[in-house]
Amino acid sequence: MESNWAAEHLQVIRTLMERAALYRRALAPIMIFNGVVGLAAATLGWGMQIGSPRGFILFWAGVGVVAVTGSFLLVRRQALKESEPFWSPPTRRVTQALLPPLVAGLLISAVLFLRCGSGPLYAVSNPALLWLPLSWVVLYGCAFHAAGFFMPRGMRLFGWAFIIGGCAIFAAGAAYGVTGLGCAHGIMGFFFGGLHLAYGVYLYLTEHRGNHA
């Protein structure tokens, strides 16, 4: 009897300790913002025919800066509104989990940027240029899967969607020789725009339902 009571107590303590380590900021506005930015950028990139490797890398690096800055401001606004520290321990843990794959993506891009010419993306014989958007997608998925250990609400599944989707498109692209400007911007738009937006809307709807419950 007493043993059951002690075991239940320990279980409650364990649950509370896990909950304390979780990242608690509302993710829906951040995901929706990033989705809109991703879709707009893909349309813009495709419309402006940004097709040189350097142009492509620079363009999407700029989009990345906009997305990170916007996300940062949204998180900061939430923290201020709730009278909580911005750079809280869960935020630190999530950032640390996100960093290694994102840094890897940055380094790969920097190497390609330095080594590639300014010819059109689809005309360059180096297949690495087809891999680039997909490597960003897969690394981004790895980053979110790692951060998902400190975040609630299916973040790891979201990471897996990027990893599996990126690898599947890579396999299809390798098999059928899919290349081209529209394809590269399409991949970016689908993953960084569409998936973010879909996940953001899902979170928005379920968060509202959760609040009313």
Binding site: E2, S3, A6, A7, H9, L10, V12, I13, L16, M17, E18, R19, A20, A21, R24, A79, L80, E82, S83, E84, P85, F86, S88, P89, P90
Partner: protein, 102 residues
Amino acid sequence: MNPEPFLQLDRVIHEKGRLAIMSMLAASPELSFTELRDTLGMTDGNVTTHIRTLQEAGYLSVTKSFQNNRPLTTCALTVAGKRAFTHYINLLERIIQQNKPK
């Protein structure tokens, strides 16, 4: 059955609300007042009372500061608090071990 571990349980920590606060702070270097309140679903008054009790026992330190002109209250476990919490957990484990069928 040896009742000793049960009798040694720290009364300050043993209360449900204070144990919840101690558990959360044990997993995080510091937490704000609002994080504790919202995660545990307690009222402002409840959290304040428990924090004061834990502070008086020397288990918890409270820091008051300002973030963008808004007051920010953060709590953290003291060394004595960490020790007391660890001791409390050890006692619970001893109770479980003691009652395990041999």
